[in-house]
């Protein structure tokens, strides 16, 4: 009996292997036929929406801030293209960039430009950037701090520890408690570059939390707390602070008036293959940009009236 079972197991294993090999072969074949068909990118687009010939599997990993959006768009894309299988993993921007640069995944999601994370400039140069959305970040405080607006200098002084009490910036007599992000966080990098204009050291007694949900909870509950959150996380439990008198609203970000924002990037290693390209193109369609992107609290990249390069230079589009 034992013998028979192991034979059956072996048979089953080989057959599974054979079937999966066949599956891959089929995929390859399909891709080949579409390639031979000489489809222009435009033709691929119409196909992706009508769900005709695209197939293959796409693996994306990286930024947890971008993950919900990629997942939702991937669901829709797979509904329209039955042959395509898209898997989205988290892991953080660093993981996404590492994996896409080592070709372990097809798409690396990142909150920051690859050049800022990858120390190896040659590796960063191999990656092709696809900016799919914009995330704006606002300084927020505990509602009882009694402050509506902070200037850039005041924020710098708070986050470098020069100002330690809210009364110094016109608020309540209450010690300031900084709720920060870890030094490697993309959100923190964005906030430091565009709101403070400088990197900050971790202050003694400051609190670092990794998830936006926890940061919001801590700011809402801790007296005198200050931190920063993506616009999609803002609600009445925390007080959103104006920056240099500018309200952190979607309209102000789009018009280029509010500077604390960053692109959400989807990197591919070299030019993407047809399926990946169709998926990334789908991201930039109006359907996604004004639908899913807005729905999940991001800002459509296509609507931005200004653009920004790696060095942080903002130019009107």
């Amino acid at each position: 009996m034992q013998f028979k079972k192991s034979w059956i197991m072996a048979l089953a294993l080989t057959s599974v292997l054979a079937i999966s090999a066949c599956g891959n072969g089929n995929n390859g074949g399909n891709n080949a036929t579409t390639n031979n068909g000489g489809n222009t990118p435009a033709a691929t687009n119409t196909e992706s929406s009508s769900g005709a010939k695209l197939s293959g599997s796409v693996l994306a990993s990286g930024s947890t801030a971008l993950q919900p959006l990629v997942e939702q768009v991937a669901e829709k894309f797979m509904d329209a293209n039955a042959g395509v299988d898209i898997q989205v993993q988290g892991g953080g921007s660093g993981t996404g960039l590492t994996q896409v640069s080592e070709k372990q995944v097809d798409i690396g999601n990142s909150d920051v430009f690859a050049e800022e994370k990858l120390k190896d400039a040659a590796k960063a140069a191999e990656l092709v950037d696809h900016q799919v959305a914009v995330v704006a970040i606002a300084a927020v405080s505990n509602p009882k701090a009694g402050v509506d607006s902070l200037t850039k200098q005041q924020l710098v002084d708070i986050f470098t520890g020069k100002i330690t009490n809210w009364k110094e910036v016109g608020g309540a007599d209450q010690a300031i408690q900084i709720i920060n992000r870890p030094a490697s966080s993309g959100t923190r990098a964005t906030f430091e570059s565009f709101a403070l204009g400088t990197k900050t050291e971790d202050l003694k007694g400051s609190i670092q939390e990794d998830s936006s949900g926890t940061v919001k909870k801590m700011i809402g509950e801790t007296p005198g707390a200050i931190g920063y959150l993506a616009l999609s996380y803002l609600d009445d439990s925390v007080k959103t602070l104006n920056y240099d008198g500018v309200e952190p609203s979607v309209d102000n970000v789009v018009a280029g008036k509010y500077p604390v924002w960053a692109y959400e990037h989807m990197y591919t290693n070299g030019e993407p293959n047809e399926t990946v390209k169709a998926f990334l193109d789908y991201f930039l369609t109006d359907e996604v940009q004004t639908g899913d992107v807005v729905e999940l609290g991001y800002i459509p990249a296509s609507k931005m009236q200004v653009s920004r390069d790696v060095a942080g230079t903002v130019t009107p589009k």
């Binding site: 034992q2 993981t95 640069s101 966080s185 990197k199 971790d202 400051s206 670092q208 909870k217 801590m218």
Partner: protein, 300 residues
């Protein structure tokens, strides 16, 4: 004719025996390969920064400044190493008396309904996911500490309290097993000499089972040392050696979990995180060694 079936049966036994042996050897070999490769992987990544001269070992172990993103980065991990030891020791100090009392209650005082009631409840504790402990810590312990004690609630004390609940089941179950396996005649002789129950527990039972109970405590500490998520949520993660129990601090695990995803493989910062993982692994070896030594003492 009569010998044939016996022969066949013997043959079948032999084949089964052989298959079993091959399967076992394969599994054991696989296990060894996995363990060796894991140790090799962590060690090779962990020493990368020291080998290529990016960071000095002494600077890593005793440096108190952690600012990997600065223009001249420094990778001092002492705040995290001390933070890990601090919360672990505190958690063991809080949990051990509770666990030992619970174990005594279950085995010596009310072995019947006490055990039936307490054991499942304590075992339940070990089944609760870390993130739930972290969230309970954040929603219950942190506000409580903030309202009653100085500081913002978040800090070493909150971390130690959360951890102590998490290691209760480990210490309790090992201690209860040790107490239950105590030879009956030791207790009986003690009672026969006219000792009270308390005298028996404090003079006979606890001293004889001390090494085994300590095994439980060390196992609990090993668990506390390696716990990441729950501590990370309530400890605050500021990279400084804390001067008070109500101050924000970091542990090795919390820094690793916060930084691993956001750094790229092969960067000095990422390698520094692997060095911390190596420190964690070496500490686990020390804990295992301690348990082994305690077990040996236990036998004598």
């Amino acid at each position: 004719m009569r010998g044939q079936p016996t022969n066949k049966r013997l043959e079948k036994h032999h084949i089964e025996n052989l298959i079993g042996r091959i399967y076992m050897s394969f599994c054991v070999l696989l296990l060894i390969v996995i363990i060796v490769s894991m140790v090799y992987f962590v060690a090779s990544k962990g020493v990368a920064n020291f080998v290529n001269g990016e960071v000095k070992v002494s600077e890593f172990l005793f440096g108190t400044k952690w600012s990997p993103e600065a223009d001249t980065p420094s990778y001092g991990a002492f705040p995290f190493i001390s933070g890990s030891f601090l919360v672990t020791l505190l958690a063991a100090l809080i949990a051990s008396p509770l666990s030992i009392c619970a174990a005594l209650f279950m085995t010596e005082i009310v072995p019947g309904w006490g055990k039936k009631l307490l054991q499942p409840v304590i075992e339940l504790l070990s089944g609760i996911p870390s993130v739930v402990y972290g969230f309970v810590g954040l929603s219950v312990i942190v506000p409580f500490l903030r309202d009653t004690l100085p500081g913002q609630g978040i800090g070493v004390a909150a971390g130690a309290l959360v951890l102590s609940v998490m290691i209760l089941p480990t210490i309790t179950s090992v201690a209860a097993d040790a107490l239950a396996s105590l030879p009956q005649n030791l207790k009986e002789s003690s009672f026969a000499l006219g000792a009270t129950r308390w005298q028996t527990i404090s003079r006979v039972i606890l001293p004889t089972t001390f090494p085994a109970i300590m095994t439980g405590v060390v196992l609990g500490m090993a668990r506390a040392f390696g716990e990441a998520l729950a501590v990370q949520m309530v400890i605050g993660n500021a990279p400084f050696v804390p001067h008070s129990l109500f101050e924000s601090a970091s542990t090795l695990t919390s820094v690793i979990t916060l930084g691993m995803g956001n750094t790229t493989m092969g960067s000095p910062q990422n390698n520094a995180l692997w060095s911390m993982a190596l420190v964690l692994m070496l500490m686990t070896f020390v804990f295992v060694l301690l348990v082994r030594m305690l077990e040996r003492r236990n036998k004598i």
